[in-house]
């Protein structure tokens, strides 16, 4: 409680409510993102067997790699949640600590994903190779781009917290960032359940 003496904690907590106009508006944006991702998933399901003689999912996906990515992203949801608990307790330094932990896990996830992409492209299987690869890079790349922008947002909020302290406007922005970050983990559940696990499964037993 001691780290933000100049602001009433109740105003900070009120700014982080889900039913403020800005936070509901951001939620409406996320719902439009649901539509975007469902169309990308649809394209993937339709094109997932169109290999055009190129590699199949079992040739390029690694269960081990996807598992590590999934664990990192899930753990980052927990650390972001704990940042929001610290917000409600008014502990600025704890929020910064949990945000940094979230960023480290997010960077680990993105680094893994980018090296996976580089590896696939080096094998001559870029997004121009087949319908399957176009849909794969389109879907997983869009999710990765969201994570990238989420990381920029986290860095921005850490800087704002450090410079301005835990003010009501900053608490309001953190509430939206938490929605964004948890939403990305939600989309990732759909990604590994639709793309990676069925793809690896189909290759394993044939």
């Amino acid at each position: 409680m001691a780290s933000s003496p100049s602001y009433d904690l109740n105003r900070v907590r009120a700014a982080a409510r889900a039913d403020t106009e800005v936070n509901f508006g951001f939620w409406a944006y996320l719902m439009s993102d649901v539509v975007l991702f469902s169309m990308l998933f649809l394209a993937y399901v339709n094109l997932s067997q169109r290999f055009a003689g190129g590699p199949t999912p079992a040739d390029i996906f690694s269960l081990h790699g996807v598992f590590l990515e999934t664990m990192a992203l899930l753990a980052s949801s927990l650390t972001f949640g704990l940042a929001m608990v610290s917000l409600h307790q008014g502990r600025k330094n704890h929020i910064i600590g949990w945000l940094l932990a979230t960023a480290v896990l997010g960077i680990y996830f993105l680094w893994h994903e980018v090296s996976e992409f580089v590896h696939i492209i080096h094998e001559g299987a870029s997004f121009t190779r087949s319908g399957f690869l176009s849909a794969y890079f389109g879907l997983v790349g869009t999710h990765g781009a969201h994570v990238f922008f989420g990381l920029i947002w986290i860095a921005t909020m850490v800087a704002q917290l450090a410079i301005k302290g835990l003010t009501p406007p900053i608490a309001s922005r953190l509430a939206r960032l938490s929605l964004f970050w948890h939403f990305l983990d939600l989309v990732w559940i759909c990604v590994f359940s639709t793309v990676y696990l069925p793809g690896i499964l189909a290759g394993g037993s044939s």
């Binding site: 039913d19 469902s38 169309m39 649809l42 339709n46 608990v85 983990d185 759909c190 690896i200 499964l201």
Partner: protein
């Protein structure tokens, strides 16, 4: 929608809630990955396990991480999710139906 200038704190999330959600999500992740890794069941059964645990885990995330419920604070968020899910089913279901029907009519063997 009228709380922006209030000092009403709203529902405070707890560390216990996040840890419980994390553990539930962890179990629901380990089950499908384990099913694919150990490959003990038929392919259809494993796909069913993947689908069921995915839906359950989506519910866990919505409840424990995004705090959706029918309380005053979350009501409109929840209603907009329900509308989005409805929209998604119409678009995804309708398009899949259309494409598979098209493939069937063109007798594209092997799809």
């Amino acid at each position: 929608m009228s709380h922006s200038d209030d000092a009403t704190p709203g529902h405070a999330p707890t560390a216990r809630g996040y840890v419980m959600g994390y553990l539930a999500a962890l179990v629901l992740t380990l089950i499908p990955f384990g099913a694919v890794y150990y490959d003990l069941m038929s392919q259809g059964a494993i796909l069913l396990v993947i689908a069921i645990t995915a839906v359950l885990q989506l519910g866990v995330h919505l409840r424990f991480f995004l705090h959706l419920d029918m309380s005053q604070e979350q009501r409109w968020n929840t209603i907009s999710v329900l509308f989005s899910v409805f929209t998604m089913f119409v678009m995804v279901g309708g398009t899949l139906w259309l494409f598979y029907s098209l493939y069937a009519r063109h007798m594209m063997i092997g799809y």
